[in-house]
């Protein structure tokens, strides 16, 4: 019987917490990121639950102070966006998987990689420190003049985001160089797995866009501390300028969030359908197209900001251009499933959930990109629902799906499929209850960032029931997520040992043991079509899938292989 992971692997290669804190191993760095990011996800989720709990009933529910509520929604946004979703997939999963998918030993710059992690930790600690320094009540969007006037801890949070920006830039730089320079012989661009195409496109955005955020934050701090007046009309400045600077980064940022998620979905769908991805080049090109067009549309957040009508029209037209590549991906995923052999494992369920939820998220973007409807829908709960469907129903679902997909590889353990499927369904149902109700409230005129809605009840009595339903959904969603944490943690201690290839994947990470050895591969593995499932069969002796080469026996590298 094949006994993986009792040998030397990256987890036991060296011991002691010190060896982890100064590690240069991309796999250990990825694991540290994963733990940190999931911890921040829980904290951000807690603030989200506080928001929803306050809105369960009209009038004060858990706090009679609107400023406290304003802190809840601001911190929920800041933590989720800067500490979870932007770093999320590239740092936690990309770091682990990218070099192995390339058949490489590590990323191009391992020390820079560790530096990225410590910048993340510094930014996270600073952001948490802001809670002690008075918190933040500006909304994560930090619009001037409110953010230049408020007494809350704008400087601390701006500093945190500034530092986190560098973590992001360095990771992007590392991934670009790694993909360019560390590919093995025989792996051209069109032999890269699609997850790597998505990480590459993401890295381009990270490098080009993030510096704009850094400068914007510096200008905000300069306005607050030095009174330079760039956003202050009484000194000749313009508040709307802040919005241009802010969204020039923050719109591409949403593509930093979604592209890696889409990359994961390509892997999930093809692996668990045991079938070659359909439309490889179309999907690859669409990732690059989304990354590039994403820089041209920031003004669609500002249709009613006072910017000129002409500029609004141009941004609206460009916004529709980004919809098409996303649609292309969805159709190609469906075509991949056609005539496949589909296993409904937990990762596949997450992949299917993504298609459903991101489908809604993306399609509702049409209402918002269209000028006449956006005037009505802007700054209502319709927008809140749209971005939760894309960011949570999209990125986070893909992230969790990726965690389940690569969990055996990362930990060497299998988790319970029964609990996995159950929790996925609970999360799916809870999510839809939470956020679909918000579309309805929004189009009926419920504004966002409202501490209370009792003034609207005489005209919209249904807002009470809709808010209550949304809150109940949030609790169901939270339970589903906590359940996921429980059975995954349980698998670390009691899970069956994982084979090298539990799912029958075709990409290179499934060719090394679970968990991988310290150096990933003793010798660079042979490279071909990354989605060639030919010959990958389930082997009872191995307890997992193996690729039967036409001329020889099953090949899997384990530590100690020549």
């Amino acid at each position: 019987m094949f006994t993986p992971a009792t040998g030397d692997n990256y987890l036991n290669h060296t011991r002691g917490i010190g060896s982890w804190l100064v590690t240069l191993d991309h796999k250990r760095i990825g694991v540290m990121y994963l733990v940190s990011i999931l911890a921040m996800f829980m904290l951000g989720g807690l603030f989200g639950l506080l928001v929803r709990t306050e809105l369960l009933t009209p009038g004060p529910t858990i706090t009679d102070n609107p400023d406290t509520y304003n802190q809840f929604f601001t911190l929920h946004g800041v933590i989720m966006i800067f500490l979870v979703i932007i770093p999320g997939i590239p740092a936690a999963l990309g770091n682990f998987v990218l070099p192995i998918m390339l058949g490489a030993k590590d990323v191009a710059f391992p020390r820079l990689n560790l530096c990225s992690y410590y910048l993340y930790v510094a930014g996270a600690l600073l952001a948490l420190g802001s809670l002690a320094a008075g918190g933040l009540d500006t909304g994560w969007t930090l619009y001037a003049p409110y953010s230049t006037q408020t007494k809350s801890a704008v400087f601390v949070v701006a500093a945190a985001a500034f530092i986190l920006g560098f973590s992001s830039i360095f990771t992007g730089l590392n991934f670009i160089v790694t993909i360019h320079k560390l590919r093995p012989p025989g792996m051209g661009w069109f032999q890269l797995p699609l997850f790597l195409w998505s990480l590459y496109a993401t890295a381009v955005i990270q490098i080009l866009a993030t510096p704009v955020l850094a400068i914007t934050l510096l200008l905000l701090v300069a306005e607050r501390t030095l009174g330079i007046g760039i956003f202050d009309p009484s000194l000749g400045g313009d508040p709307v300028l802040f919005q241009h600077f802010f969204w020039f980064y923050s719109h591409p940022a949403v593509y930093i969030m979604i592209l890696p998620g889409m990359g994961i979905v390509s892997e999930l769908i093809s692996t668990h359908s045991h079938k070659h991805i359909f439309g490889y080049r179309a999907i690859a090109y669409s990732s690059v197209a989304i990354a590039l067009f994403g820089f041209l549309v920031w003004g669609h957040h500002m249709f009613v900001s006072g910017q000129s009508d002409l500029v609004s029209m141009i941004f609206s037209a460009l916004t529709f251009s980004v919809a098409i590549p996303s649609a292309i991906k969805v159709f190609n995923w469906l075509a991949t499933m056609y005539k496949g052999s589909i296993s409904l494992n937990t990762p596949m369920l997450y992949g299917l959930s993504f298609i459903f939820l991101f489908g809604i998220g993306g399609l509702t973007g049409l209402f918002l990109g269209a000028l006449a409807t956006d005037v009505h829908l802007h700054s209502t709960y319709f927008v809140v629902a749209h971005f939760h469907y894309t960011m949570m129903g999209g990125t986070m679902i893909a992230f969790i799906g990726g965690i389940h997909h690569w969990w055996p590889k990362i930990t060497g353990r299998l988790y319970s499929q029964l609990w996995g499927r159950f929790a996925c369904i609970l999360i799916f149902l809870g999510f839809n209850l939470t956020f679909f109700t918000q579309f309805i409230m929004g189009s009926r005129g419920m504004p966002r960032r409202y501490y209370d809605y009792k003034e609207l009840l005489p005209y919209h009595p249904e807002f009470h029931a809709l808010h209550a339903a949304s809150t109940i959904g949030a609790y169901a969603l939270a339970i589903g997520l906590m359940l996921t944490a429980v059975y995954l943690l349980h698998s670390l201690f009691r899970g069956r040992r994982a084979p090298a290839n539990p799912w029958g994947g075709s990409t290179l990470e499934w060719q090394c043991s679970s968990p991988p050895p310290h150096d990933n591969f003793a010798t660079p593995p042979p490279v071909g079509d990354p989605y060639d499932f030919e010959g990958i069969e389930y082997d009872l002796q191995a307890g997992g899938y193996v690729r039967h080469a036409p001329e020889g026996p099953a090949r899997v590298t384990t530590p100690g292989d020549e």
Binding site: D309, I324, I355
Partner: protein, 356 residues
């Protein structure tokens, strides 16, 4: 049912021709609303079609091609240029159509007619003030039905961004410090609809909710005329009113809805936005409460005490920064130039009535 100038009593019992809204939308109460709703439906049905297509195919494939013992995936092409072009071209055509119609709708939303009736809007943390052509200012927006109205909007340079949003009219526009912004509409349905702030502006953001009241033909003019009885009185009339309010009111029925000074003061307290920051039930808020205020010794931030008399109240309204009460910040906008002596007198009468 008399026209009560203080409160709006136009809640729609006129049920017959009233649009009550649909599943997704609030009532259609402006000319623009039906155009916006048409576009919403157009996008909705396209989105619904594609969503249904995607989900049905997904579920069908999961069932039809589920993994079965001994059955592997079937050999099919791994790409198809024809498919890629088709499923790129069709959505492209559809989004071009969506863009075109949303563009024409937007142009009409943003282009007020030449002869539009102008009302000024002042937004500040955290209240609305609408100023009508005759100088009357109010915390509610009143408009005549079937008349193009243009709102010219501003806030103070040291305030924050607000946004005027009337869901039933499908209109919204940010109000940015340092500039004027405008929005226009033509209300088509008599009734009362929410008017809300749609750009986060701090503590009282969700308190910035008022109404827009659409009057039937002739109703708006009547409302405006009667809206500010104190203002319309000649000096002689006002003197007579101040001396004996009850006798004056009875003798002068043309001042419909006129009430004793302390009640007129209560209206001013609302219309001028005082209640956005001051309570009348004893709760401290952004500013001190009015309950029990008159006649007490007030403790100021500089340690001194002052008696709260008529002069103190007048100064606190016109130049609030002169004396700041201990425990509060100097955030009140001075009302110098924005309130009349008669309104101040009415407010003083009202605050006196709140003595314990």
């Amino acid at each position: 049912m008399t026209t009560d100038v203080g409160a709006s009593s136009l809640s729609p019992p006129l049920a017959l021709a009233q649009d009550q809204g649909s599943f997704w939308m609030p009532p259609q109460a402006s000319a623009a609303a039906s155009e916006v709703d048409w576009l919403f439906s157009f996008i909705y049905y396209i989105a619904l079609f594609f969503f249904a297509l995607i989900v049905i195919l997904m579920v069908f494939f999961v069932v039809r091609y589920r993994r079965r013992e001994g059955v592997g995936p079937q050999q099919v092409a791994t790409h198809s240029l024809a498919l890629e072009l088709t499923w790129s071209a069709v959505p492209t055509i559809l989004v071009i159509l969506i863009f075109w119609w949303s563009f024409t709708g937007f142009v009409s939303l943003r282009t007020p007619p030449e002869n539009a009736y102008e009302i000024n809007v002042f937004a500040e943390q955290w209240r609305w003030e609408f100023t009508y052509p005759n100088g009357h200012s109010d915390d509610e927006l009143h408009v005549p039905v079937d008349t193009p109205v243009r709102l010219v909007m501003h806030t103070d340079s040291d305030d924050v961004i607000h946004s005027l949003y009337i869901p039933a009219f499908r209109i919204k526009m940010d109000i940015v410090p340092g500039r004027y912004s405008q929005v226009w509409f033509r209300a088509t349905q008599v009734g009362e609809y929410p008017l809300v702030c749609a750009e986060y502006c701090g503590t009282g953001h969700s308190d910035m909710v008022t109404i827009v009241a659409v009057h039937e033909p002739g109703g708006y003019e009547k409302w405006l005329e009667l809206a500010d009885p104190l203002k319309r009185m000649t000096p002689e009339q006002y003197e007579a009113y101040a001396k004996d309010p009850q006798a004056f009111t009875q003798a002068n029925p043309e001042f419909e809805g006129l009430e004793p000074p302390w009640q007129m003061g209560k209206r001013v307290f609302t219309k001028k936005g005082c209640k956005s920051c001051h309570t009348v039930d004893g709760t401290p808020y952004t500013g001190p409460t009015m309950k029990g205020l008159f006649g007490k010794q007030e403790h100021l931030a500089d340690g001194s005490t002052v008696p709260v008399d008529e002069n103190y109240l007048r100064e606190s309204i016109l130049a609030p920064g002169a004396k700041i009460v201990a425990g509060y910040d100097n955030v009140m906008t001075p009302y110098q130039g924005r309130i009349s002596d008669r309104e101040i007198a009415a407010l003083i009468a009202y605050i006196k009535s709140l003595r314990e």
